[in-house]
């Protein structure tokens, strides 16, 4: 009781200050209210797709990120549609959209879209995926895949973010019932597109990066060492490609 009384007296002693702060915040609040705000129905992005109710069939998530994040879907005319909740099903190469209050998820009809930008759940960045970003890539098991654009320049880097079903299995409990399911694992593939249009697949390692340039491996290793270019994860691989573009601009005869 004493605590409540003390709080109330404190509030009243600071009342002018509180009122002032409230008045200062009033315009900001007013401006944040969009008079032409959309009503419930029109807030749905105009996307088409099948309504599905995904089942747990594997151990591990089939999604690139388990959390729903916001982002944009690029329709075929190039128009971007903002979506609040979506996630990328890396196992089936599908984009899933969720509308709060609606049953199930929507598996977006991928032939009606060009790509999407997915908000990274832990980083303040969008991951842009495009359908068939790289034409005719050897080693791709799907003919119509979403590929992530990591960097585009003279040398461009793309990634296929897939999940694969491993031969390993484990027992999980779903709805009180135990079942033996296969384990899912990441299956990422990186593709470097050279200025002459050739595509080379690689892993995010220094050796793999250097081996993508047969005939120049020794020189490239030496230059990379000189510039202290490390490649041990995909962010570093992207940086290495950016560095390579800058380096080639400075020394155009390097690969000749």
């Amino acid at each position: 009781m004493l605590f409540v009384y003390r709080n109330i007296t404190q509030l009243f002693s600071r009342l002018p200050c509180t009122l002032a702060v409230a008045c200062f915040l009033l315009p900001g609040w007013l401006y944040s209210q969009d008079p032409g705000r959309l009503n419930d129905h029109s807030s749905y992005p105009v996307l088409a797709g099948e309504i599905v109710f995904p089942e747990v069939r594997y151990s591990g998530s089939p999604y690139l990120f388990d959390r729903f994040t916001g982002g944009y879907v690029v329709l075929l005319p190039g128009e971007q549609v903002a979506v609040d909740y979506m996630r990328y099903d890396a196992l089936n190469d599908d984009l899933m959209w969720m509308q709060p209050g609606e049953e199930g998820l929507v598996r977006i009809d991928k032939k009606l879209i060009a790509g999407f930008g997915l908000q990274h759940p832990w980083q303040d960045s969008l991951m842009w995926f495009y359908r068939n970003a790289v034409a005719g890539v050897g080693g791709l098991s799907c003919g119509d895949c979403f590929l992530q654009v990591l960097h585009e320049g003279n040398f461009s880097l793309y990634a296929r973010r897939r999940k694969r079903i491993t031969s390993r299995s484990e027992t999980i409990t779903v709805g009180g019932q135990s079942q033996q399911v296969r384990i899912l694992d990441d299956d990422f593939l990186y593709m470097l597109v050279t200025p002459d249009g050739q595509t080379k697949t690689m892993r995010p390692t220094r050796r793999s990066f250097i081996n993508a340039f047969p005939g120049h491996t020794r020189d490239l290793r030496r230059v990379m060492r000189r510039y202290n270019i490390q490649v041990s994860q995909d962010k570093e691989l992207t940086e290495a490609v950016k560095w390579l573009n800058a380096f080639i601009e400075k020394e155009p005869g390097f690969f000749e």
Binding site: P16, G36, V46, L47, P77
Partner: protein
């Protein structure tokens, strides 16, 4: 913070700072609240239109150039141009797409136009929120080619003695005055002052203007008597700031948005029994006959208004609006769609007198056009081919689950039989004269959906299934069965059944009631004036009369202090005085006009 407040108190500034802060805060709130209820006193956009001439004969083409003046980056992408007569009937309506805030083209003046004064009006969609005095207007004269009496013109002839009494010169009419902003000189020169028949004219247009300025202009070379300067004096001076605005926010009047990405179809749903009842959040579907299942939809706002920014797919096609009955309760609403060419002002024509010199000159023009129409011409408008644009109709699905083509099977007598025999995932039942269709859910492969699928005929929603049931195998080209629980934006379908027929069927026979049929929205193609080039034409061209009154028309030319226009055109077979009229806009928004004359003697 406490130290800061302490210092303020100590200096006696605490109360003062607080008061100033509160004042600013209240001012900002006030501005916001007033902004909610008021509109800009004048539109952010202004349109200026120039034509090749002022006087025409029916059967000729009117060439125009239209410019948008605005400081906004996100400006309108198109301009409406309407030609109306003194009975305020719209003779021709054109939607001109803007490119870098300008557009140009031509309007064919039909042979049936009666002799009289006409008004050309240009405005953007957003300007329709303001009174018509904010629109750009220009008065024109059009003579019917076969009207030999010219009664409508003769009744305006001035009495030469009246004019003499006022100190004026009888039987003359004024020539256009140059309009030049400060520090700007437009130089027009030709290589000679007098030319012969079909002789090349070397024209140069240069400018002296402040550093870095550019002039965007049109250049017209036409017979002097086709320029009637007194008609330009009638162009009113712009918006009446004190007039009542049509746009008033919450009073239910349709507010037209700025058409940044294409033409907008604006309309509203009204309750037939209670006009005050605002039908909010009702889905309105826009469809058009098509070979793909594609629709657009919009939801009404709190005022019951709806807006569609039209996708290029729908240009030039019949359009149909249908309110989705699943999104409103009670009686079917009425649909009102704003006519973009409805102009709420009146035009009375030229009310002043005209020079006695003009009627004989108009008759001369009529004769010239009659001759030109009788022979092959070496000039005219040329519509440039539109750039190939990829069109992506707003499709409901990319591929159906299955497609059935009845022609591949034994002929069947009706749609119910077709469904029963060759579409196993479709079930049709009849109860109390009503038809019911259900699809098998392809996700389960054995259960039917609880509710009816979305049924489309040639891409338009079907409200009357009876029409569909009469179709035999001969009528139907294909049936797309998309039996999946499907979402299209805010629409949810328990499967989609889309029927395509060989022949066109009148949508009025099957669309759900009520529906609204819209005329096609046609974007005006850019057309240029093609003049004969006697350097390349052979001797056969000598046998074709060249009675052009318009010798040259260039609707889009940019000049500055360093870059001038230097061009060549040919005179025709008509002698007389010709005027070179340069009209345009400086990049400061100031308009200018400059004139130069030359003679053609045969």
């Amino acid at each position: 913070m406490h130290n800061f407040l302490f210092h303020l108190r100590k200096r006696g500034l605490y109360a003062k700072s607080m008061c100033i802060g509160l004042l600013i805060s209240l001012m900002l709130s006030g501005i916001y609240v007033s902004g909610m209820n008021q509109v800009h006193p004048v539109p952010d956009e202004q349109v200026i239109l120039h034509t090749d001439r002022d006087a025409y004969v029916s059967g000729e083409e009117l060439f125009f150039r239209v410019s948008l003046i605005t400081q906004c980056d996100q400006h309108s992408s198109l301009v409406y141009i309407a030609l109306r007569n003194t009975r305020n009937e719209i003779i021709s309506g054109v939607i001109a797409p803007l490119n870098h805030k300008t557009s140009y083209g031509s309007i064919y003046l039909a042979d049936t136009l009666s002799t009289g004064f006409y008004q050309l009006i240009a405005y953007t969609g957003e300007m329709r929120n303001y009174p018509a005095d904010c629109f750009y207007t220009q008065t024109l004269f059009i003579a019917n080619r076969f009207d030999t009496t010219l009664e409508n013109l003769l009744e305006l002839e001035e009495d030469p003695y009246d004019n003499q009494d006022q100190g004026g010169e009888p039987g003359t009419y004024a020539t256009p005055e140059p309009i030049l902003p400060d520090h700007t000189i437009i130089r027009i020169s030709t290589d000679k002052e007098v030319y012969g028949r079909r002789e090349p004219v070397q024209l140069t247009v240069g400018a002296e203007m402040p550093d870095g300025s550019t002039a965007d202009m049109s250049v017209s070379v036409t017979a002097k008597h086709t320029i009637w300067p007194f008609l330009h004096e009638e162009t009113d001076g712009g918006c009446d700031r004190d007039a009542d605005r049509q746009w008033s926010g919450d009073d239910g009047v349709l507010v037209y948005p700025r058409e940044k990405n294409g033409p907008v179809i604006a309309g509203k749903l009204i309750s037939k029994s209670d006009e005050k009842n605002k039908l909010a959040n009702v889905r309105v579907i826009l469809s058009s006959p098509d070979t793909l299942t594609a629709i657009m939809y919009a939801h009404t706002n709190e005022q019951g208004h709806f807006y569609f920014t039209l996708d290029p797919t729908y240009f030039g096609r019949d359009l149909y609006l249908v309110p989705d009955h699943g999104t409103y309760a009670g009686e079917a609403p009425g649909i009102v769609v704003a006519d973009p060419f409805a102009i709420h002002s009146s035009f009375e024509g030229h009310t002043g007198s005209i020079s006695v010199e003009l009627p004989p000159l108009v008759r001369e023009s009529q004769d010239v056009v009659v001759v030109q129409k009788a022979f092959e011409t070496l000039h005219g408008s040329f519509v440039s081919e539109k750039e190939h644009e990829h069109r992506f109709p707003p499709r409901l699905y990319s591929e159906p689950v299955s497609v059935v083509r009845p022609a591949r099977y034994m002929p069947l007598d009706n749609f119910r039989e077709i469904a029963r025999e060759i579409m196993p995932s479709v079930r049709i039942r009849q109860q109390n004269e009503d038809w019911h269709i259900r699809l098998v859910n392809d996700q389960t492969a054995y259960t039917f959906f609880d509710s009816a699928p979305g049924v489309f005929l040639n891409s338009m929603p079907v409200g009357k299934l009876d029409v569909l049931m009469d179709f035999t195998s001969e009528h139907i080209r294909s049936v797309e069965v998309h039996n999946l629980p499907w979402r299209y934006g805010s629409m949810r379908f328990d499967g989609i059944l889309s029927v395509f027929t060989h022949d066109h069927y009148d949508p009025a026979t099957f669309l759900p009631e009520p529906f609204y049929a819209l005329p096609p929205v046609i974007m005006h193609g850019k057309s240029t004036y093609v003049q004969p080039d006697y350097r390349t034409l052979g001797s056969e061209a000598d046998r074709v009369p060249d009675f052009r009154q318009l010798l040259y028309w260039n609707p889009q030319q940019v000049i500055n202090e360093e870059k001038e226009l230097s061009t060549l055109f040919y005179t025709g077979d008509l002698e007389g005085t010709y005027a070179i009229i340069v009209r345009g806009i400086l990049d400061t928004g100031a308009v200018f006009q400059a004139i130069h004359y030359f003679e053609v003697k045969l």
